[in-house]
């Protein structure tokens, strides 16, 4: 089973990891059978984005373990394909819940102290001169040599790189490298922003460190996230959004000039030239940014890399038609992106799966989890209940599965809402809203969201009309889904009796039929399905 190591660096890396977890949960085929190693690296110990992502991954893992733990442990020949939460998340024991314990600097330690700048003397005086030619030593607090590194590098990757460089010598990194076997098809993805401090510092150092150990055989992809949000301007702020683009340009140029691209198989660029305005935060426990379209795209880029599409190509970027901009106080031709606006490959390989997961989670949450026992009489339910009675472990697992799935339902719905954030009195909307699905809609038929069409009576101009959604011609109801569930469980039953086959654990069966039912339901409402439109 190939392994996928995802180095999520800094706040952006963590948020991309969140979206990646959603893709993994939706069961996009690319990740089938992969062991996924999320590795979160954030110098900022208290970052709220990190905490949220870790919790999500834990929930994911609970679900995966509950559903498939026994099944896979038995070495069943049936591979985990076409399932939600199919990919196995691995937490290397040297990590702390996927988080790399990387804190080389002391609390309140300044960079000058970290490198012993003050004590450079004698034969090392020339190095002191050299450093003086490289770093700003003036007394301002945001200059390189005086930088307090407690919460990161505050937009100074040149300092970050010196600190990050030490990662190659850590036991955690060595451990990871023992797992990483390029010859087995293992892959590495390194995610981070170029306009901040931590991610920008870490990416080349990690790439270089891996290359140093594994050479050019290592399949490494970097998701280089370009500016896509702007913290509100704040007096004395160390992070200045107006510098983001310039910093990104500088970093990009360095990537090219330094030759680091030679060590990378696929290079992905993604960003948003119309960045979303977010509240200012220096980091720490208040840094919890809403999910953003760019993070979803970044996750989809991981899918692209793992799926090994366009293998003869190296550099990729994500392109979006610039008519989809939502800015406060301005009417744009279109404010939201709908699935139909994406390219077919993206829709098929990723986005449809997310809608399918949405159908499943809504159905699970509303019809099963909240109506437990009230749905007695439904074939699949009764069969599973019977199985649980026979197998206390199954009962326990299903309970866990139910509980965690329901939890995930909430996390998923939050994520979806954040992606489609329309703004409120305090905060600006996402500049690119993405309307994938909305679990709060009553009709399952409405879960595949798309743009409302208008008559072209105003001179052919395409006018935005908000989020008026037309219903599909092919409707989908909970009854349909129950029926699909009942139908789907058939393959797990012993012939002619409503008893599960051997080795068809109840919890796995439930996960499987839920996926099957949701998939069938999605097919009913997918307007892009061939012959449907």
């Amino acid at each position: 089973m190939p392994k996928l190591f995802i180095f999520a660096i800094g706040g952006t890396g963590e948020r991309v990891m969140r979206s990646t977890a959603m893709l993994l949960a939706s069961g996009v085929p690319a990740f089938d059978n992969y062991e996924v190693f999320p590795i979160i690296i954030d110098y900022d110990k208290k970052n709220a984005d990190k905490k949220r992502t870790v919790e999500l991954l834990q929930t994911y893992n609970q679900i995966h373990t509950a559903a498939y733990g026994r099944h896979t442990a038995q070495g069943d020949a049936v591979k985990l394909v076409n399932e939600f939460f199919a990919a196995r998340l691995r937490n290397i024991d040297v990590l702390e819940d996927y988080v790399y314990p990387f804190h080389p600097a002391q609390e309140n330690e300044k960079f000058r102290d970290y490198i012993g700048y003050k004590t450079l003397s004698g034969v090392n005086l020339s190095t002191s001169d050299f450093l003086e030619s490289l770093f700003d030593k003036s007394s301002r607090p945001d200059t390189e040599l005086n930088l307090d590194m407690t919460v990161g590098f505050k937009g100074n990757p040149n300092i970050g790189s010196v600190v990050f460089h030490t990662i190659a010598g850590t036991k955690e990194f060595n451990q990871i490298m023992t797992y990483f076997q390029p010859g087995n098809g293992d892959k590495v993805v390194v995610i981070g922003s170029l306009f901040g401090g931590t991610g920008a510092s870490g990416i080349p150092e990690i790439v270089k460190a891996i290359n140093t150990v594994k050479g050019n055989k290592a399949q490494i992809a970097t998701i280089l996230v370009l500016p896509y949000f702007n913290p509100e301007a704040s007096d004395g702020a160390a992070i200045k959004a107006e510098r983001f683009n310039a910093k990104t340009k500088a970093a990009l140029d360095f990537y090219e000039k330094s030759g680091i691209y030679e060590y990378i198989k696929n290079v992905y660029y993604v960003g948003d030239p119309n960045p979303t305005i977010i509240p200012y935060c220096d980091g720490g426990d208040k840094q919890e940014n809403k999910a953003n379209f760019v993070e979803l795209i970044s996750a989809m880029m991981i899918e692209h890399f793992v799926a090994q599409r366009d293998e003869d190509k190296k550099f990729f970027k994500f392109a979006v038609d610039d008519k989809f901009i939502s800015t406060p106080g301005q009417k744009a031709p279109r404010e939201r992106l709908f699935i139909a606006d994406f390219d077919k490959v993206s829709i098929q390989t990723s986005l449809n799966h997310l809608v399918t997961l949405g159908i499943a989670l809504k159905f699970f949450h509303e019809e099963i989890f909240e109506k437990d026992k009230k749905i007695e009489g439904k074939d699949f339910y009764d069969i599973l209940q019977a199985a649980k009675k026979k197998d206390s472990d199954a009962a326990r697992r299903i309970k866990t599965l139910y509980d965690e799935l329901d939890k995930f339902y909430t996390l998923f719905q939050d994520w979806l809402k954040e992606l489609d954030f329309e703004g409120n009195d305090k905060h600006a909307p996402n500049s690119h809203r993405v309307a994938l699905t909305d679990l709060s809609r009553k009709k399952y038929s409405d879960l595949f969201m798309e743009e409302a069409k208008t008559t072209e009576d105003d001179g052919g101009i395409l006018a935005a009309i908000g989020d008026f959604i037309t219903s599909r011609g092919s409707s989908l109801s909970e009854d349909n889904l129950f029926a699909f569930m009942n139908s789907a469980i058939g393959k797990h039953l012993q012939e002619k009796i409503k008893v599960l086959k051997d080795n068809h654990e109840a919890e796995w069966v439930f996960a499987d039929i839920l996926h099957d039912a949701a998939s069938k339901g999605f097919d009913r409402i997918n307007p892009l399905t061939p012959n449907k439109k």
């Binding site: 090392n124 450093l131 030593k137 990104t248 990729f316």
Partner: protein
């Protein structure tokens, strides 16, 4: 809109939204980051690169940005200057332009200063430094070692073994980069002070926040270098190479095309080498170069070379170059120094102090070359006084009355001459002008410096002269000011020597100057300079200076004896062209200087060039002195009608000012107190008006104990005597200087008097188209002892030496001088005698035109014996002369304060009486005496008749005819007119005396004598005029000197010496004198006197009582003061009278009843 979210290449996707592949890495130049500020934000760009070596990459990124911009059609030919701001449409340099500007600055700086001793390229070897850091005990150093090594491990840097760190002095300024060739330190913006690092044209480099200088606007030599360098870059430095070649092809085509022909030819440029290991600094295959900094400065390469008129600046260092004269503004269109054009940014406000230690502006510290800037020639502060400066005698630069001293620095005269400022007529040439704008309280000084290019550069400085301005030194208030006078103010120049230096040497020998400084400020100083006349410095004999030797003496000290100002007298021993005055500026500040440039009257020292001949005569009398002069055209014969009193600065003689004051004729402003002390201690501004000859013979002498008298330093002619006597201003006058035997300094005092009068004669001569060769007739009494005469002549000789003139001193007997004056008018044929009564001596001349017999004799008996304080030392200064006492009792004595003051302050009775006579119309002194016919008038009668008696004796002894024409001259003779203003009455008295003597000595001719009496209108002037005439007249008389001592059996064939004066001789003199006393009882004589209502009946008795004592006192006194073998050169006849007259006067005055009401 950025492109990083929009499709640009063929995509596998079918819609516009999705993941696209692209052929190359995302081009950062496609991201729009807007135009943003410079400054420290630039550093943030560098810190955005994830490597410790970010700055090695940063500048290449900036180059790439500009290259991309240049590639846009909208920016072609523009992009190197900036980016078009979509809002304003202006071309605005972005942060990338600023980074590139810094990069170019660094390349320019290295190219220009790479071989400067301040510049270092220090090699930083990666492996070596890694090892060094690893050997440290500090963990941080280990981290740093690993981080730096790792930073160099990127593919692009593999193979790089070292970089070079650039330092200027101790300041790190950047280094080499294998990506961008060089880079700058992020600390430059904060640390660099303007002017520290400059490029071509003096442009400040690395300025951070100011604009940029595109490559195409930089120095052509530098551009050419970079173009050549671009061809040496091969496949490296792609961004820089493209930028340079774009710049060449789009902005600088001609030069670039020239380079392309043979790009590898770096000409004379040198390879940049590291220090201290001297390794060629080769960066990624490219050798950095340094320009050949040899700059050639000559009149064909620069228009700014000074057109100097003096090469004094080369005196101590003959190899010095002619400096450039520079101002910040420069001269439009003038060639600075090839290859640079002048740019005000090149200007350095504070160049090195020494002109010849300077680095050429605009070339940084690369080209040492002397430059003159306004600061060198114009002072920082200007000095103001309360009075207008004397622009007739001193150059002020101003066309209007001016109160500001010339703020010109001495250094100016290392390059220029005084004649550049003032022409031969003393007029300003216009090279320096001073404009005093009192309305706006500013003074503007403009100095127009001529250049070899025939251009002129203006050094202009404006001084704020408002009340509290720091550009002005206030010497206005009388308690904080100064003034001075100079004597004389002409320059005797030589122009007939083979070389200019020899002319100058001759000139300085002709001139001596005296400066009197009056000040209420401490530490006002003068230095005098004669440019071109060098001599070894006292402090460093290896070097020579043109400062003229001068000695200074503090004469009056402020606060001492109530003096309100201090005076310094400065003696300048040689010619000088200008002086530098220094005035204290204030606490902790250096003194402020100004130049004093006298407008000397220029007089050719060559005596053959003179058109007139001047002669003088001085009758240096005991009481009064008279000086006359005559100016005769060369080749013309002497004409006594041209003789006139010595005067200058008067309407008769307006152009011969001898002394000039620094203040103008309008006065001394608030420093009027200087006027009094100037009159007292120096020389009159004008002679012949308030102060004129004849005048009291007096010197003014510094109070206190003096070791040595020196002209002006402590002694001068007391020209202000009369005024001071009245003003009660000073007691420091000395009279009786001719014969004063009680003061050990008397000889020096006389010498000092002569020195000053000789100075004045010389001045008068040279200022009146004559030369410093002139005749001086000096009268002296024949009664003068040999030693006195030797002293007298020595004093004159010494004076001649000091004054440096060719004064032909001709000594004349006082006695014969009146003869010449009278003979001119009288046309007589009869025997003639003149009695010249002075203060100390009475001189007799006898001439018989028929027999040509002429005799002179002299007596130490004159007016002072009548008006003085007797012969006792103890009585001197008591002012107890009988006439004084008498007058106090008379009803003519008034409560006039002036009279009281004179009485109180005068040093002697003679001084008081001199005053009383001089102011007779007020004091009625003579009237009081005349009315005292039975009292005080007896004394003049006694005095007069004794002289006549002696004359009769001389006629008798000489065996000559009795003179029938007798004239009286000398100031002392005025008292005769107290006896009677009627010449006939006086003749009768004479005849009575002659008759008595004839009877007594059986001399028939005397017994029957008839005489005619003549008085001179100006009795004092006769002697001087006569002396002057006598030396012009070869046909004149040459009388035999004779002394008759008046004792029995006197042997006139042998000179009598003091050791031969026996008791018997004394007794015999007494006996002879008794004969005279007897005369006062002779009925004929008494009858004549009675006709005058003059009763002398009481005199004989008293006189007999005093005469013997007086005689013996005089004998003792004379024997003690003269060597034993010295001739007795005076008649002893008068010895019995000398003290007797004094005592008699006291007696008579004592007996006079006070008439005071």
């Amino acid at each position: 809109m950025s492109k990083f979210m929009t499709p640009e290449n063929t995509s596998p996707a079918t819609t516009n939204t999705g993941i696209l592949y692209q052929k190359d890495p995302l081009d950062p130049t496609m991201i729009d980051d807007g135009v943003f500020s410079h400054g420290t934000d630039l550093n943030k760009l560098g810190s955005s690169m994830p490597t410790a070596l970010a700055r090695l990459f940063l500048f290449s990124s900036a180059l790439k940005e500009i290259n991309a911009l240049e590639a846009q059609a909208s920016h072609k030919g523009i992009a190197h200057r900036g980016k078009i701001d979509s809002d304003s449409g202006h071309i605005v340099p972005t942060a990338y332009h600023k980074l590139v500007d810094d990069l170019l600055d660094m390349l320019e700086f290295i190219y220009k200063y790479g071989d400067d001793f301040n510049f270092k390229a220090e090699r930083w070897d990666i492996d070596t430094e890694y090892d060094n850091l690893k050997q440290s005990n500090e963990t941080g150093h280990h981290r740093l070692a690993e981080a730096l090594k790792a930073a160099f491990s990127y593919p692009a840097l593999q193979g790089i073994k070292q970089v070079y760190v650039f330092k200027w002095g101790k300041m790190v300024i950047g280094g080499t980069s294998p990506i961008s060739l060089v880079y700058t330190s992020p600390n430059l913006i904060d640390e660099l002070k303007p002017g520290t690092l400059v490029g071509y044209g003096g442009r400040n480099l690395f300025t951070g926040k100011t604009g940029i200088t595109p490559l195409c606007e930089r120095e052509p030599a530098f551009r050419e270098y970079l173009y050549r360098l671009s061809f040496a870059m091969g496949n490296n430095f792609t961004d820089l190479k493209r930028f340079l070649q774009d710049s060449g092809s789009e902005y600088d085509k001609d030069l670039y095309d020239k380079v392309k022909v043979n790009p590898a030819n770096f000409g004379t440029a040198k390879k940049l080498a590291s220090k201290p290991d001297n390794i060629d600094v080769i960066v990624n295959g490219v050798q950095l170069m340094v320009t050949d900094n040899t700059v050639h400065i000559n009149s064909s390469t620069s228009d700014y070379l000074m057109k100097t008129t003096s090469d004094n600046f080369r005196h101590n260092h003959p190899d010095r170059e002619t400096p450039l004269a520079l101002t910040k503004a420069g001269i439009p269109g003038a060639k600075f120094v090839e290859p640079l054009q002048w740019n005000p940014n090149m200007w350095t406000d504070c160049p090195e102090k020494d002109v010849f230690d300077r680095q050429l502006m605009g070339f940084g510290s690369k080209v040492p070359y002397p430059q003159i800037v306004p600061y060198d020639f114009l002072e920082e502060r200007i000095i103001e006084v309360s009075y207008n400066l004397n622009d007739t005698a001193f150059f002020t630069g101003s066309k209007k009355p001016c109160r500001y001293l010339l703020p010109l620095k001495k250094l100016f005269f290392d390059f220029f001459k005084v004649s550049d400022l003032i022409n031969e007529k003393g007029e300003s040439t216009g090279m320096l002008t001073m404009d005093c704008d009192d309305d706006h309280e500013i003074v503007t000084v403009t100095l127009r410096i001529p250049l070899l290019s025939d251009k002129t550069i203006e050094f202009k400085k404006t001084y704020d002269t408002s009340a509290k301005s720091k550009q002005k030194v206030d010497a206005v208030d009388q308690s904080n000011t100064f003034d001075f006078a100079m004597f004389p103010c002409y320059r005797l120049y030589a122009d007939n020597r083979p070389t200019e230096l020899e002319n100058l040497q001759a000139t300085t020998e002709h001139n001596v100057y005296n400066i009197m400084l009056g000040t209420t400020i401490k530490n006002v100083g003068f230095k005098f300079y004669e440019p071109g006349l060098f001599h070894p410095k006292a402090s460093n004999p290896q070097e020579e200076t043109d400062e003229v030797s001068a000695t200074n003496h503090l004469r009056t000290e402020r606060g001492v004896n109530g003096a309100t100002i201090s005076t310094d007298h400065i003696h300048v021993d040689g010619s000088f062209s200008f002086a530098e005055i220094s005035v204290p500026t204030g606490k902790d500040l250096p003194a402020t200087h100004a130049l004093i440039i006298p407008k000397f009257r220029m007089i050719n020292a060559d005596r053959t060039k003179a058109t007139f001949k001047m002669s003088f005569a001085i009758d240096f009398g005991t009481t009064n002195t008279h000086v006359v002069q005559v100016k005769i055209p060369n080749g013309k014969s002497f004409d006594p009608t041209f003789i006139e009193a010595f005067e200058y600065g008067t309407p008769n003689s307006p152009n011969d000012f001898q002394m000039v004051t620094f203040n103008s004729a309008s006065g001394m402003g608030d420093f009027g107190s200087f006027d009094n002390i100037l009159r007292r201690e120096f020389v009159p501004v004008k002679l012949g008006h308030d102060i004129k000859f004849p005048m009291r013979t007096a010197t003014y002498q510094q109070s206190g104990k003096l070791n040595k008298l020196e002209m002006f330093f402590n002694t001068n002619i007391g020209f202000n005597y009369s005024r001071d006597l009245v003003l009660k201003s000073s007691n420091d006058y000395r009279t009786n200087i001719k014969w004063d035997s009680f003061d050990g300094l008397s000889e020096e005092r006389m010498s000092t008097f002569f020195e000053q009068i000789l100075w004045m004669m010389k001045n008068e001569s040279v200022l009146n188209e004559s030369s410093d060769a002139f005749d001086v007739a000096v009268t002296l009494p024949i009664s003068m002892s040999e030693s006195d005469r030797t002293t007298f002549e020595t004093a004159w000789n010494d004076a001649c030496q000091k004054v440096r003139c060719q004064a032909n001193i001709i000594y004349c007997t006082e006695s014969i001088s009146p003869y010449y004056e009278f003979s001119r008018n009288l046309k007589f044929a009869q025997p003639y005698a003149n009695i010249d009564i002075g203060g100390g001596t009475t001189d007799f001349v006898y001439y018989d035109k028929n027999t040509k017999e002429s005799i002179v004799f002299s007596a130490f008996f004159a007016a002072n014996d009548l008006w003085g304080d007797g012969i006792e030392k103890s009585a001197q200064g008591l002012k107890e002369n009988g006439f004084v006492q008498f007058y106090k009792k008379s009803h003519y004595w008034t409560d006039d304060q002036e009279v009281k003051d004179v009485y109180q302050d005068a040093n002697s009775s003679a001084d008081i009486i001199s005053y009383l006579f001089s102011n007779d119309s007020k004091t009625r002194f003579s009237k009081a005496i005349r009315e005292s016919r039975d009292g005080m008038l007896q004394l003049p009668v006694l005095h007069f008749t004794s002289l006549i008696y002696y004359l009769a004796y001389c006629v008798y002894m000489a065996e000559v005819s009795v003179p029938t024409e007798i004239s009286f001259t000398g100031m002392g003779s005025k008292y005769i007119q107290l006896i009677s203003p009627n010449k006939d009455v006086i003749a009768k008295i004479i005849e009575a005396v002659f008759h008595y003597f004839g009877k007594k000595f059986s001399h028939e001719e005397l017994e029957k004598a008839k005489v005619t009496v003549h008085f001179a209108d100006n009795p004092k002037e006769v002697t001087a005029k006569g002396a002057l005439m006598s030396i012009q007249d070869d046909q004149g008389i040459h009388p035999v000197e004779q002394v008759y001592h008046v004792y029995e059996d006197e042997d006139t064939t042998h000179a009598l010496r003091y050791n031969q004066v026996t008791e018997q001789t004394i007794a015999s003199v007494g006996k002879m004198f008794n004969g005279f006393i007897d005369m006062l009882e002779d009925s004929d004589v008494v009858a004549v006197l009675n006709d005058l209502s003059c009763d002398v009946s009481l005199i004989p008795a008293s006189l007999r009582g005093y005469a013997n004592n007086s005689l013996r006192q005089m004998h003792t006194k004379k024997s003690e003061s003269n060597p034993p073998k010295t001739r007795v050169r005076e008649p002893m006849f008068f010895w019995p009278l000398k003290q007797s007259l004094y005592l008699l006067g006291k007696d008579i005055a004592g007996s006079v009843k006070s008439e005071k009401k």
